[in-house]
């Protein structure tokens, strides 16, 4: 009964209901306007909502997340500019459809399928999170250390252009997270005797710098991109279409949920994999892929919305974010004094069921807002970047200042923004940095607990990594990941081959 009451909390409370609706609506625009991203919006939102009760803050943020993942598809279809990375595959099929004058149909189908994918992701969250959480109570500090490493490496390898760059970004993030007084011994780390540095680097300033200011500077490169206008008529999709693509949608939602649940991978990768799956599994598409095949529209859109629910699974059960946005949401939960992890479902079950109910509600609003208001939408999305970019900078400044009313944080944000710009220009990803900042202190604490438990003995420590079943699985996956990405495998093979020859 309790579960139901918490689930329905945001449905029955008019204030929470309207916050969720507002969040979803805002999210659609944030996701759709090229230059604004969901990560950017959630980072800035955290700083404004940290004084609110946690439920209200979460309602708004969940709405923005759900709406934002979907919103990218609209600009992808109408303007051939994916509003978010998760809509890249959508643009491949959606824009050709729009050029044929079927923009309305494409948007309608996308909306219905996104909502369907979203529901499947949430269902998976509701069903599997409690199971994983029961299991996760068995996890020891060493397992968390390994999970953190795997999460950062996954983001680094899958999103960047080279493994080394991904690893560098992740390690840089961990280093940023280390600055300040050591929580165990109160020794200063990288503080250079400065009192300001002893308090650590505020991670929200880092988030806003990397996702807000750095992105705004990158966007300046394409200020002059002109949008193409499209004609929109029929929006409610045909029932025939929904029936036809139903099973495909179920399969790609499954892909999306699993990819979303893997620590470190989110909607963008899920969408690309699902698109690939649709391409390979569709034998006779009505229209060839790349020319406006509806299969290629359904697959990525179901997958990226399913990934939202999936991404909440490791975040709420293990405290390991599933992607960049959930990394930011973890930051929000920390600010509200909550500790995401296996104990969260035991200690604060109401929050878990509230989140599930809230995501469900946001999905319903997505269906409503997705099928209406497209005329106004096209007007707003055409907002020139010349106006958008200075506004992002002003919002970033307010956001950073708002957390602790400390002007120094604004300079941190500026520094990270400039740093992020150069890193982005030279092909580094900023996602792993934020993951490192969030996970670094957690990994540090767990590493030291593990090594103390092993009585400071490296041999004991390494033996612990292989002598327990759960840990062994994690260790093997970590080693496999590193082997598959570095030339280490080739060297070992060559060495073995040489030894064989010598014999």
């Amino acid at each position: 009964m309790d579960v139901l009451a918490n689930f329905a909390m945001s449905w029955t409370d008019p204030w929470l209901l309207s916050l969720t609706a507002l969040g979803t609506l805002a999210g659609i625009y944030v996701g759709a306007i090229p230059g604004l991203s969901v990560t950017m919006a959630t980072s800035i939102l955290i700083s404004f909502t940290f004084k609110w009760p946690v439920n209200e803050a979460l309602a708004l943020i969940a709405g923005v997340f759900v709406g934002g993942v979907y919103g990218g598809s609209r600009t992808a279809i109408l303007l051939n500019i994916p509003g978010a990375p998760s809509a890249i595959a959508t643009a491949l099929e959606g824009y050709p459809m729009a050029k044929r004058g079927e923009a309305g149909e494409a948007i309608g189908l996308t909306t219905v399928m996104s909502v369907m994918g979203g529901f499947i992701g949430i269902l998976a969250l509701a069903l599997f999170a409690p199971v994983i959480s029961d299991f996760a109570i068995l996890f020891q500090s060493r397992d968390y250390l390994l999970l953190g490493l795997i999460g950062i490496l996954l983001v680094g390898t899958l999103s960047g252009e080279s493994f080394a760059k991904g690893v560098f970004s992740g390690a840089l993030g961990v280093l940023i997270g280390m600055v300040g007084l050591d929580p165990m011994t109160a020794e200063g780390r990288f503080t250079f005797g400065s009192i300001t540095l002893m308090g650590g680097i505020p991670y929200v300033a880092a988030m806003i710098g990397f996702f807000g200011v750095a992105e705004a500077l990158v966007q300046l490169h394409q200020l002059d991109l002109k949008a193409v206008k499209q004609k929109i008529d029929r929006i409610i999709p045909r029932f025939r279409d929904i029936k036809k693509y139903f099973w495909l949608a179920i399969r790609t939602s499954g892909i999306g949920t699993i990819i979303g649940a893997l620590p470190g991978t989110g909607g963008d990768i899920a969408a690309l994999l699902a698109y690939d799956h649709a391409k390979r599994s569709t034998k006779k598409p009505e229209v060839p892929f790349g020319k406006g095949a509806k299969e290629g529209l359904v697959a990525p859109e179901t997958a990226n919305n399913a990934a939202v629910g999936g991404a909440f699974v490791p975040m709420l059960t293990l405290g390991i974010p599933g992607d960049a946005v959930t990394a930011v949401i973890i930051g929000a939960l920390f600010i509200h004094g909550l500790k995401p992890g296996p104990l969260m479902l035991v200690e604060t079950p109401h929050l878990f069921w509230f989140t599930v109910g809230n995501l469900t509600l946001a999905n319903i609003f997505l269906l409503i807002f997705g099928l209406t208001g497209i005329k106004i939408f096209t007007k707003i999305v055409e907002c020139p970047k010349a106006i958008l970019i200075p506004l992002i900078i002003v919002l970033s400044a307010v956001g950073t200042y708002a957390i602790q009313n400390n002007p120094v944080h604004i300079y941190w944000m500026l520094l990270f923004g400039v740093m992020g710009y150069f890193l982005k220009v030279y092909g580094f990803q900023v996602g792993p940095i934020i993951l490192g900042v969030i996970l670094g202190p957690m990994m540090d604490t767990n590493y030291r607990r593990t090594i103390i438990a092993a009585r400071d003995d490296i041999g004991n420590f390494l033996w612990n990594l292989v002598s327990h079943p759960i840990t062994l699985v994690l260790t093997i996956s970590l080693i496999l990941m590193i082997l598959s990405q570095t030339p280490l495998k080739r060297w070992i093979m060559n060495y073995l081959a040489k030894r064989k020859e010598a014999r």
Binding site: A171, V394, V398, D456
Partner: protein, 164 residues
Amino acid sequence: MSNVPSERPAELVFAIIISVFSVVAFWQAYEISGFSSAHSAGVFPMLAAGTMVLSSFVILCQTARAPVPRHRTVNELRLFFRRVLPLRQLVMLGLMVAYLFSMPWLGFIVSSGIFLLISFSYLWGKSLLVTLSVTAISLASIYFIFRVVFQVVLPQGEWLRGLF
């Protein structure tokens, strides 16, 4: 969506900078507690910085080995300022620095107003009247949303205390 410039002049210089940064970071991490014990405060920072040193060296080698895509007829430095840090980025960076550093003196409203007005007219190039009204509308909505709805305390100016 990735929209960074495809050509990357001075990539080698950047790789050298991050390598030097990593080595300095490792040295600083060592300074925390050295190799005194396996669970001291400095171990994990050293591991992180060590990973940075290793990966930045790999990046350095990869960059150094990569073939130069074009004949070096154009000065690398000039290309850097054309592709990586063109005038537009430089001007906006300058404006941002001026904006953020003047905020403690002028206060949020005044400094943001000036920043928005200058950057809108620089990037957008519409008439002064249009730019002015867009600035006023954006500033009013930001003030309303954040001060009134979110109840955020906005930075007040040293010089204009009590006014804004």
